[in-house]
């Protein structure tokens, strides 16, 4: 912000040469350029994104049932009711867990895999990944290509307490007393089981993202680190991570936002919020309020969730920006 004031303050030597802030005349060309390349997208953005957000905020102040055209204005009553709604707080807590755990696990795994297939290979000769790295890269991307809804149904069968793949495996390796474990039906297991599913479907995508970022780091840096005697773990933590910090923080934001949403996975794997509501998330609770003709109340939840999402995103981006590394 300081740069703003310096550029405006008069220079000590009197008249400045060729001021940077000189206006060029608004010719037809310039105006039409603005209109097409900025005005139009901005208009569309305001119409399709900003205006629905403003409308949503307005509806959150009404007792709209969802089916009439003249909703009654009730002020902040919906928000007051939210404060006293235990289920909402349960859902928000579960979202908070997801928003912390999902990015952590996904990114640590994705980073480890990305390091392996790019710089984790033989310690001799040129820096390279483990052999067959390209194959693993492609294979681990597969889950991301499956639509969330299909992933959900697939894992619902994997987790099935009667003849599911997971329990069958546990039975086969001798853990017979676990063969009927209700992974999605036990209050202590449900949320964890669903986290595994979400991590499974995203880890490949972030691995590819990190691989691309690591490929952008000059190989000399890794060679230098190796000559200085840095091991693989130390190289990953102290060389790779700081150099791809932008990608990591973007990944954190995306995964955290996913953790604050998670609707599709929950709708399949915990259709009523899971055992004891241990897997209830805000989007799901919000949706069930839609289905009970409480649109105003549901939208109020949506507004709160949007604010939380915004705060989380800003928090992550600001905190990562402060610690920028200069190469």
């Amino acid at each position: 912000m300081t740069s703003l004031t310096t550029s405006k303050s008069p220079t000590a030597g009197g008249t400045s040469s060729a001021p940077r802030g000189r206006r060029r005349p608004l010719s037809f060309e310039r105006i039409s350029f603005f209109a097409v390349f900025l005005g139009l997208p901005l208009a569309l953005y305001i119409y399709l994104v900003v205006s629905p957000i403003i409308q949503a905020f307005y509806y959150s102040l009404t007792s709209w049932s969802g089916y009439d055209a003249n909703p009654a204005f009730v002020g902040l009553a919906n928000y007051q009711a939210l404060i006293h709604d235990d289920l909402f707080w349960t859902a928000l807590r579960n979202n908070a867990i997801l928003a912390v755990v999902l990015p952590t696990i996904t990114i640590v795994l994705a980073l480890a895999l990305a390091t392996l297939v790019t710089v984790g290979g033989s310690a001799r000769g040129q820096t390279r990944g483990i052999s067959g790295g390209g194959f693993y890269r492609v294979v681990s991307f597969f889950p991301y290509a499956i639509p969330a809804i299909v992933t959900g149904i697939l894992w619902q069968q994997v987790y099935s307490p009667q003849g599911g793949l997971l329990n069958g495996f546990l039975d086969a390796i001798g853990l017979h007393n676990l063969k009927n474990t209700p992974w999605l039906g036990d209050p202590n297991l449900a949320l964890g089981a669903i986290i595994v599913v979400i991590v499974w479907s995203f880890v490949g995508f972030y691995m590819v993202l990190f691989v691309a970022a690591i490929k952008g780091i000059p190989a000399e840096i890794y060679e230098a680190a190796r000559l200085d005697g840095s091991g693989r773990l130390r190289t990953a933590v102290q060389i790779t991570v700081p150099l791809i910090r932008d990608n990591v923080s973007t990944a954190v934001v995306y995964m955290a936002i996913l953790g604050l949403d998670a609707f599709t996975y929950m709708a399949i794997l915990a259709p009523t919020g899971g055992p004891n509501n241990q897997a209830l998330v805000v989007t799901q609770y919000l949706y069930s309020n839609f289905t009970q003709a409480k649109y105003g109340y549901a939208i109020a939840m949506g507004v709160v969730l949007a604010l939380v999402t915004l705060l989380v995103s800003i928090g992550v981006l600001v905190s990562s920006r402060r610690q920028q590394v200069e190469l």
């Binding site: 003249n70 209700p182 919020g273």
Partner: protein, 487 residues
């Protein structure tokens, strides 16, 4: 490489600002230009459409009412019908549309379309004041009736209209007794529930025969059966705890009512503070608790959804399953050809139950006629759907009973499930019972969660009663919820 990182370190915001005034003017200009454009659009595009009323007057003029045209419809006007394409599919309604066209000697008069997403597709049409003339408001994505109660036509005149195919009779004379109860609100018939559901236990007759089991009639017999089945490695019950643990809520209340009589429903329906502590209700909960503790439930139910649980049932891993009579149709694709699914009256909890032949029966699948373009035509469509020919055709197609009496033959069109359910229905119609507080007040989801914990052994029957009572108390204390009373 170096350059890029250095620029990034500045941060995009400060870079824009530090580059001076032209950029700011540029942004300001575009902001104004951008804002000016969508303001007009934005108003027109808001979700409630700028205040048009949802319940306008009908736009189809119509003719005078007469015996052959009881609602005074315009014979040339089309009727817009939207069907939920679920377990019953939509052929029965398409056929009913043909009946309508035959009655009014036209073609394409009844425009029958179907969807699985009733609410998603029709909510905007309600807000826009352009709903269809008939809606089959069913399925997971159905419209919450509380939201549209004021926007639908009362159907009481439908009951007084002449029935098609039953000479000299009115519609109200040909319906199963009590069929209109679930759709009646404050004394007005607002929903026509077309299908008649018998709620009961279900079993596979062949599985029982092969193992030498007898269908139980009392709870003691049920527990003995559970022990015998356990010896053969079969479970007594199975539940889909993830989304359908509530089927056992229905089962428990049904047993309680059979034992204690319909009077025990009053306190539950009126959300009284002692609804669940009534003795027959507690006995029912404790009985099921005994079966849970004895290990008669197929393990892992809390992690299954209803279709997974029902798959176990039709594969013979569990003997009994409580459900409505839609079960056979729902599972027909994976049920073995000789499974012989059969309906069984819920067992008596103790000696001398108040209702000997009673059963839980209810009309389901609500059809509504919104206040739209052609509500008279909508009612006329329903009248045709209730005709002898259309109702019989429906039962034949979907192997389920409609609310029209005498349209299912004794052999149930070859379905053991329909035949046995029809028998229970015909035998016990004088003692039929039903309740609607749990669905009416939207408790379904929480009932599932509570029962799931209970059936997986994580809660005592006393806690179960307490938590269910808590749901009722919460609704009762909420002044924004409109209540109904039962006396």
């Amino acid at each position: 490489m170096t350059d890029v990182t250095e620029q990034n370190s500045e941060g995009s915001l400060s870079r824009i600002v530090s580059s001076g005034l032209p950029r700011r003017d540029f942004l300001r200009f575009t902001l104004v230009a951008g804002l000016a454009t969508p303001i007009g659009l934005g108003l027109a595009g808001c979700a409630t459409g700028g205040g048009s009323t949802g319940s306008g007057a009908p736009t189809v003029a119509g003719a005078a009412k007469s015996a052959t045209n009881p609602f005074g419809i315009d014979p040339k006007a089309t009727v817009d019908v939207v069907i939920f394409k679920g377990g019953y599919s939509d052929q029965y309604a398409i056929d009913a549309g043909k009946t309508y066209d035959t009655t009014w000697t036209g073609s394409g008069l009844a425009k029958v379309t179907s969807t699985t997403k009733i609410n998603t597709e029709l909510q905007p049409r309600f807000v826009g004041g352009n709903p269809p003339d008939v809606i089959d408001n069913s399925g997971a994505d159905s419209i919450s009736f509380a939201g549209i109660q004021g926007q639908v036509e009362p159907l009481d005149d439908l009951l007084e209209a002449p029935a098609i195919g039953f000479p000299g009779k009115k519609i109200k004379d040909i319906l199963i007794p009590g069929a209109t109860d679930p759709g009646t609100f404050d004394g007005k018939l607002l929903q026509l529930n077309y299908f008649y559901t018998v709620y009961s236990l279900w079993y596979g007759a062949k599985l029982f025969k092969d193992n030498g089991f007898t269908p139980p009639t009392t709870w003691d017999e049920t527990m003995a059966l559970g022990e015998a089945a356990k010896a053969k490695g079969i479970s007594l019950f199975v539940f889909g705890g993830q989304n359908a643990a509530s089927y056992y809520h229905e089962f428990a209340l049904s047993m309680a009512v059979r034992q204690g009589g319909v009077d025990i429903l009053k306190k539950l329906e009126n959300l009284d503070s002692d609804g669940y502590t009534q003795e027959p209700v507690m006995t029912a909960f404790q009985s099921i608790e005994k079966a849970v503790k004895a290990g008669y439930f197929l393990p892992g139910g809390s992690g299954m959804i209803h279709t997974q649980a029902q798959t176990q049932f039709v594969q013979g891993k569990a003997l009994l399953y409580p459900s409505g009579s839609w079960l056979e149709n729902e599972m027909k694709d994976i049920t073995g050809p000789d499974f012989a699914m059969t309906s069984l009256q819920v067992p008596a909890l103790a000696a001398s139950p108040k209702l000997v032949k009673g059963f839980h029966g209810a009309a389901g699948e609500p059809f509504i006629v919104p206040k739209g373009k052609n509500p008279a035509g909508g009612k006329e469509f329903l009248r045709n759907m209730l005709s002898k020919e259309a109702a019989s055709n429906t039962s034949k197609l979907v192997k389920a009973a409609t609310i029209v009496t005498g349209t299912v033959p004794a052999d149930g069109f070859g379905s053991t499930a329909l035949a046995s359910a029809t028998k229970i229905q015909n035998d016990g119609l004088s003692e039929v019972y039903n309740w609607r507080y749990d669905s009416f007040y939207g408790m379904g989801k929480q009932v599932v969660t509570i029962w799931n914990t209970f059936l997986s052994g994580g809660m005592t029957s006393a806690d179960l009663a307490k938590q269910l009572q808590g749901l009722s108390d919460k609704v009762k204390a909420d002044p924004s919820v409109k209540k109904y009373t039962v006396s």
